[in-house]
């Protein structure tokens, strides 16, 4: 079988390109430790969600100095809790599940993006370095009210957060 020399060059070029793509992703994943959504959040039967210690009472919980955990349930057609409020500079781990259909959780304009699948708990860790309000939306069709399904993450500046905490005590 005769392969033209340009054809050969193209073939080699194509293979190099492919290997390059794979290695950049491998590199970025390994070195920067970008967190992928995977099985680490565990599973939960949809029937057990409402009685669950974490998801029965959806909330934001402080677990360390700058560390927070959010136990979130996606319903038709709201997220609970909403809004999620944390201080600037905090590291927040979201645990999100659904006891109904499939939803999506996306913080608009960022790469915080996960499917919310009944039976599974999606776990994602996000560092909020900049104060401000972030829009959240459901990006998987979940029924008639899907277009209404939105939420918010409010990241408070340090001093504002202190005040809020003070007020609670």
């Amino acid at each position: 079988m005769e392969i033209h020399k340009y054809e050969k060059a193209w073939l080699v070029g194509a293979l190099v390109l492919i290997v390059f793509f794979i290695s950049t992703v491998a590199y970025v994943t390994a070195v920067t430790g970008v967190d992928m959504v995977d099985e680490s959040g565990g599973t939960i039967h949809p029937d057990d969600v409402s009685d669950d210690e974490r998801f029965g009472d959806p909330r934001v919980e402080q677990v360390g100095e700058n560390e927070f955990e959010v136990y979130m349930v996606a319903l038709q057609f709201i997220f609970r809790p909403d809004p999620v409020e944390v201080p600037e500079g905090s590291e927040v781990t979201f645990y999100i599940t659904s006891d109904n259909v499939v939803h999506g959780y996306q913080i608009v304009g960022t790469n915080v993006n996960t499917m919310v699948i009944p039976g599974q708990i999606a776990e994602i860790t996000v560092e909020f370095d900049e104060a401000g309000e972030y829009g959240v939306l459901c990006n998987e069709y979940c029924g008639i009210g899907h277009a209404d399904m939105e939420g918010k993450v409010i990241v408070h500046p340090e001093d504002e957060w202190e005040e809020m905490q003070g007020g609670d005590d």
Binding site: M1, E2, I3, H4, Y6, E7, W10, L11, A14, L15, L17, I18, F21, I22, T24, V25, A26, V28, T29, M36, V37, D38, E39, G41, T43, P46, N100, V101, V102, G104, Q106, V108, G109, T110, N111, V112, N113, T114, M115, I117, P118, G119, Q120, E123, E133, G135, L137, C138, N139, Y141, C142, G143, I144, G145, H146, A147, D148, E150, G151, K152
Partner: protein, 571 residues
């Protein structure tokens, strides 16, 4: 010389019929697309407001009609044409042929009825589940039954072509499989392998689920089975396109295919790699370990290879054709190409858009970058370039060349036909570009009203209003282009028959042999059993562990049924 319709009247009738059904679905799909573009952008909302599910009825129909029925009905037509013409023999068994044609038609009707039922409150039927029908959302059982009957019909069609080839082989001992037939057979082997996923999903889970025979299913499992099928189907749309690009396009350019063996290699690579990649649609799914995602990503990247090889061969063959026609210079030869012939210009423009779609596809395929674009408007931006243009526009262009052969009539309305591909190209440039950009600032897909109360989008440049205008403007051009195409088809169909011995009225249907033919390529390329065995092995290697992992959480354990019926939800 007599053309296809004179030599194979029965097969010509089959092709005419499947094309007609295909184009009917194209028309319905285009209307749906227009409605979506108008509604999402807020330009015109007449199908009900946000609390009415009609948008999703339209969206389900747009997806299912276009990417299942329009594409597959066209595919079975063109494959029938290719096998019959190339092997120079009739499909051996007309009763079998009639069976699959009927089965596919009945299936498509049932599924369509279930979907369209969603428009009316008085019909206790609906299937607003979009073309991915993720459990635990449920459609009326007719939706799944229709799909089952449709797909089994396509399986029988594959058997029909295989049988024709076996009969040919008996009389042509020791000959290489002719190229187009080789493409048809490898594509169908890929289809058999990939449809196992959706067949298991529908037969063992969704139909029993919708009938209430089982009370729960595991939504991650059914989703994974869907995508086992769902990526392969992308290549099922694309293989008839490659068949046209390899065999017909070079000839339209005035030349011939560069290399027959390389075309075989490309189709073998698709057979091997198109299934064990499906999890790349589930990069952001919880419950699937990262290692499995990475493995599928690696396979996905290798799947770029056959498309990159195709780009080379197609461009080289076109250039060869242009030089035969007297073209010179580095790029000067481009000018000698027959841009006024819609069969050529349609396929060439489709190829160009496919290259652009390839770039955005590489972004999607990157496991980490995918987080930025997953389920945003970027994604429909991407696949309107691939399936929505590379496939749809090539099918239209191919029709301009094929229709005379299967009707015995000359192409009518030639001026309209000549502008149609350019109109599509311009329309899609606007619509797709705007969708990509909107996706980058987070605008979601699959949403009737992507305007929210709590926040505004922040485009890096331009404005949301300007992007909306491009989506609507592009959508209008695309819809016009679609109907221009249909107009040419109808006019041609109603024309007068060219007589079989019609002197200078010969209908062109010749496909010249490749520059380097199959003779000097290794015979192992034609060993379909070997390639199928390797393909199965690769699928097992890639999918056994992920599926075992997910299935171990319970097959019939997970979610209860959520029927997408208006009555139920609003009650």
């Amino acid at each position: 010389m007599a053309t296809f319709i004179d030599r194979y009247p029965f097969e010509a009738k089959v092709v005419r019929y499947t094309f007609a059904v295909s184009f009917l679905f194209l028309a319905l799909g285009a209307i749906g697309g227009m409605i979506q573009a108008l509604h999402r952008t807020g330009y015109l909302r007449f199908i009900g407001d946000i609390t009415d599910g009609s948008y999703y009825t339209v969206l389900t129909s747009h997806g299912v009609f276009l990417v299942i029925f329009f594409t597959v009905f066209f595919l079975v037509g063109i494959f029938t044409w290719a096998v019959t013409k190339e092997l120079d023999r009739e499909l051996g068994n007309p009763r079998l042929t009639k069976y699959w044609v009927t089965s596919m038609t009945v299936g498509a009707i049932l599924t369509s009825v279930a979907i369209i039922g969603g428009f009316s409150d008085s019909v206790p039927m609906s299937a607003d589940v979009l073309f991915t029908f993720y459990a635990p959302m449920g459609a009326h059982v007719l939706f799944y039954l229709g799909l089952t009957i449709f797909i089994t019909g396509s399986w029988v069609a594959g058997y029909d072509w295989f049988k024709t080839w076996w009969d040919w082989k008996k009389e042509n001992e020791g000959k290489r499989i002719p190229l187009m037939t080789f493409m048809v057979l490898t594509t169908m082997l890929m289809w058999y392998l990939g449809t196992i996923g959706v067949a298991v999903e529908v037969l063992f889970f969704l139909i029993p689920f919708s009938l209430g025979l089982v009370s729960e299913v595991n939504p991650l499992l059914t989703r994974t089975l869907f995508w086992f099928f769902g990526h392969m189907v992308v290549y099922f749309w694309l293989m008839p396109v490659y068949l046209l690009w390899y065999n017909v396009l070079p000839k339209l350019a005035g030349g011939r295919l560069f290399s027959d063996p390389l075309a075989r290699v490309v189709f073998i690579l698709f057979l091997l790699l198109s299934v064990p990649v499906g999890i790349h649609h589930q990069y952001v799914d919880p419950g699937i370990p990262e290692g499995f995602k990475f493995m599928m990503m690696t396979n996905t990247m290798f799947l770029l290879l056959p498309s990159l090889l195709t780009a080379f061969t197609v461009v080289a063959s076109i250039e060869h054709g242009a030089r035969q026609r007297g073209g010179t210079g580095y790029f000067g030869w481009l000018r000698t190409l027959p841009w006024g012939n819609p069969a050529f210009s349609g396929m060439a423009l489709a190829g160009l858009m496919f290259a652009a779609g390839g770039f955005s596809g590489m972004i999607n395929a990157g496991m980490n970058i995918n987080y930025l674009v997953h389920n945003t408007f970027w994604v429909p931006g991407h696949f309107h370039l691939t399936v929505g243009t590379a496939v749809a526009l090539t099918f239209m262009a191919g029709t301009y060349w094929l229709l005379p052969q299967i009707t015995g009539k000359r192409l009518a309305a030639k001026k309209a036909a000549a502008v149609q591909p350019f109109l599509w190209f311009v329309g899609m440039t606007f619509m797709s570009n705007a969708m990509h950009r909107a996706g980058l600032f987070g605008m979601p897909r699959r949403t009737s009203e992507p305007q929210y109360e709590g926040f505004d989008y922040e485009p890096a440049f331009g404005t949301v209003a300007e992007i909306d205008a491009q989506v609507v403007g592009g959508g209008i051009l695309l819809t016009l282009s679609t109907f221009l195409f249909l107009y040419v088809v109808v006019r041609t169909w109603m024309g007068t028959r060219v007589s079989a011995d019609g002197g200078d009225e010969i209908i062109d249907d010749e496909i010249p042999p490749a520059l380097s033919g199959p003779e000097d390529s290794p015979r192992v390329l034609d060993n379909l059993k070997l390639w199928t065995a390797i393909a199965i092995l690769l699928v097992i290697l890639a999918y056994a562990l992920p599926i075992a992992h997910i299935a171990s959480q319970g097959l019939y354990e997970g979610s209860e049924y959520f029927p997408m019926l208006l009555e139920v939800l609003t009650a």
